[in-house]
């Protein structure tokens, strides 16, 4: 199959849906001539005009509100928050409006909007431009939270998110934009709310998100050389979370490790651990569930500190080894 980068896969999804559905339009800062801070929107303004690829002033609350209002009146807006950190300026519109309007209005309104949120560390962007915020949003009923880790998923999930009648938070990772993988040319969707086993193994179940899927796969190779076979599951959608493959896998392996970049305390890994314990898999656990996550700190500027602030391949290898060898 043809290979595309994650960035180009996203671009293609936007391009194809815009050609087909004129309810879809894009808005955000510098997404037009500039093509977006990470180049995702690229040439789309040239192609679809300034009315459908709308460059906004630097006003994140209004960008988000504009999505809400447009969605309420029949459009399918896709907003871009240049760095996901700036979603801190959109919280009222997202949490008190987008996510709740439908319920508060007795189920009689729909808010089909997507917010694209590039996040994560690894580019030296330091404390205010490198965060991972997805965990907050799984705590907001009414929102869906999607976080693709491959070009294939990126395209299919973005198209699914745009079709979805609910507000969807779409978390991208800066370090993934240049990664390549097979992507079908035609339009396709990947169902929101479906976890995927991305590697099979019998010794340990790793649940990893976003860039940590990539790192976990790399770690798995090294572990395989030592005779440790890990199974890796990418939830892809963080809310609603599909626990089935995770539970099935743990019943098989008896061991679980959650890996994400966001800081550990209060992160997505806690929810996964909580659900595993509540599930039938609990009885099969023969080791404590471990969470490998970002240190509880802001992302530092210094390259070396930045590297050590979030899980890397070697940390995953080491942590997996410990679990399998029963060091805990």
């Amino acid at each position: 199959m043809r290979e595309l980068t994650y960035k180009d896969a996203l671009h293609e999804a936007l391009d194809q849906i815009m050609a087909e559905d004129d309810r879809v339009f894009l808005l955000g800062e510098d997404i037009g001539v500039y093509g977006g801070a990470f180049g995702v929107t690229g040439d789309l303004q040239e192609k679809y005009g300034k009315d459908r690829v709308v460059d906004t002033p630097i006003s994140e609350a209004a960008i988000t509100g504009a999505c809400v209002g447009a969605a309420l009146t029949g459009m399918h807006p896709v907003g871009e928050i240049m760095f996901s950190d700036f979603v801190t300026l959109s919280m009222e519109q997202l949490v008190l409006q987008a996510s709740r309007i439908r319920f508060m209005f007795g189920g009689k309104a729909t808010v089909p909007m997507v917010l694209r949120l590039p996040g994560g560390s690894g580019t030296g962007a330091s404390g205010q431009h490198s965060g991972s915020y997805e965990s907050w949003f799984i705590h907001v009923p009414g929102l869906k939270v999607v976080m693709p880790s491959t070009p294939y998923d990126a395209k299919g999930l973005l198209l699914a998110a745009i079709e979805d009648p609910n507000p969807v938070m779409f978390f991208e990772h800066k370090l993934l934009y240049r990664t390549k993988g097979p992507v079908p040319e035609e339009m396709y969707t990947i169902p929101i709310g479906k976890s995927q086993v991305v590697r099979e193994g019998k010794d340990l179940t790793i649940i990893a998100t976003s860039v940590m899927v990539m790192r976990s796969l790399e770690a798995a190779q090294k572990l395989a050389e030592e005779g440790i076979e890990v199974e890796i599951i990418d939830p892809r959608t963080l809310n609603p979370l599909d626990m089935e493959p995770i539970i099935a896998s743990i019943i098989k392996t008896g061991k679980a490790l959650v890996v994400h970049e966001a800081v550990k305390t209060g992160g997505f890994g806690a929810e996964v651990a909580g659900r595993i314990v509540e599930s039938e898999a609990f009885a099969y656990l023969d080791a404590p569930i471990r969470r490998l996550a970002g240190l509880d700190m802001p992302i530092p500027y210094n390259r070396n500190l930045e590297y050590h602030a979030v899980p890397q391949v070697e940390n995953i290898v080491e942590e997996s080894r410990k679990i399998v060898q029963g060091v805990y």
Binding site: A62, G65, G69, A70, F105
Partner: protein, 323 residues
């Protein structure tokens, strides 16, 4: 009246009388709400617009029901003037299943998407960013609609106000920003929160038209909104209208009103917009009594309707969270 174009030309005498009815109805609804609250029949808080009824009457009559409404926490009058059904509104107020929001929203979130009434909002300034999206949607769909966006003086100091008006101005969005300046934001007097004389002066910051009108004068509000709608429909962008008025009651249920004097309230009560409008449109005392009588019956029926309506079933509690 739902979905029907109320008024496109000037106000006819018949229109005017209908507006008077709506003003009287709004006041009666809120006085009744107060009573029900006192009787413990209502859970939660509410915000009464008694004394401010002219704005809803003047504004809603200046645009059509194909346009959009974005309402505030103090929005009973606007809801009724937009054509809201009194019975279902009362049912919502009592949290009943056949209220507009199935009892999930209440007074602060009452909406009727079907009639382009995009809802009240409990967040001060919360509807202002949303207005941008509605305006943008109209612009993209080229439907020639406008969106009437209400907010209070207090909301004009939220960052959302700024971002919204700027975006609307640069894109010439068809938004009518109607600020109900009732001189207080909760306990905060206007001149403690602003260093300017009129909120409409803020239009300068966005290069748009700003105007201040007497918010207790139905015609003045109507005229300003009509002009703003015209500008909006012809692609000339948003307008900031400030309508000066006064809230007679406390901010919400639990307000001792230590921040203002009885005299001030009394002074404003003498500027009651209802008799003023009645007089202006030549409604006789007898006609006025008839209206009052009709309203009384309407309210009574609505209360009966609402009280006899079923409570939401707990088994449906999660309905509506997701589509």
């Amino acid at each position: 009246m739902e979905k029907e174009k109320l008024l496109e030309g000037e106000l006819t005498p018949k229109d005017a009388k209908h507006l008077l009815y709506l003003m009287v109805l709004t006041r009666a609804f809120e006085e009744n709400a107060e009573e029900m609250y006192a009787l413990g029949k209502v859970h939660g808080t509410m915000h009464l617009s008694i004394g401010q009824e002219a704005i809803a009457a003047g504004a809603s009559s200046a645009i059509t029901r194909d346009d959009y409404l974005l309402n505030t926490h103090r929005g009973h009058g606007h809801f009724l003037a937009w054509g809201g059904d009194l019975n279902r509104m009362m049912a919502e107020f009592l949290g009943k299943e056949n209220g507009y929001c199935r009892g999930r929203g209440g007074s602060m979130h009452i909406a009727d998407i079907e009639s382009n009434n995009l809802g009240a909002n409990g967040i001060v300034g919360g509807n202002l960013p949303i207005a941008v999206g509605v305006g943008l949607s109209i612009k993209i769909r080229k439907t020639n609609q406008v969106v009437l966006t209400l907010f209070g003086d207090g909301a004009a100091n939220e960052g959302a106000f700024h971002e919204s008006l700027n975006m609307a101005s640069i894109w010439n969005l068809p938004i009518i920003y109607l600020c109900e300046n009732n001189l207080y934001a909760m306990s905060t007097p206007f001149d403690q929160a602003f260093k300017i004389e009129e909120i409409s002066q803020r239009a300068v910051a966005y290069g748009i038209k700003g105007v201040t009108v007497d918010g207790n004068d139905v015609f003045a509000v109507h005229q300003a909104v009509r002009e703003a709608a015209e500008r909006a429909r012809y692609g000339n962008g948003p307008t900031l209208i400030e309508a000066i008025t006064y809230r007679w009651r406390g901010h919400s249920k639990s307000d001792r009103q230590a921040y203002r004097t009885r005299e001030e309230v009394k002074e404003w009560m003498e500027k009651d917009p209802i008799p003023r409008f009645a007089k202006k449109i030549g409604v006789s005392d007898k006609e006025m009594e008839e209206i009052q009588e009709r309203v009384k019956i309407d309210i009574q029926k609505a209360v009966e309707f609402a009280e006899n309506s079923p409570e939401p079933d707990v088994s449906t509690i999660l309905e509506g969270v997701y589509a």
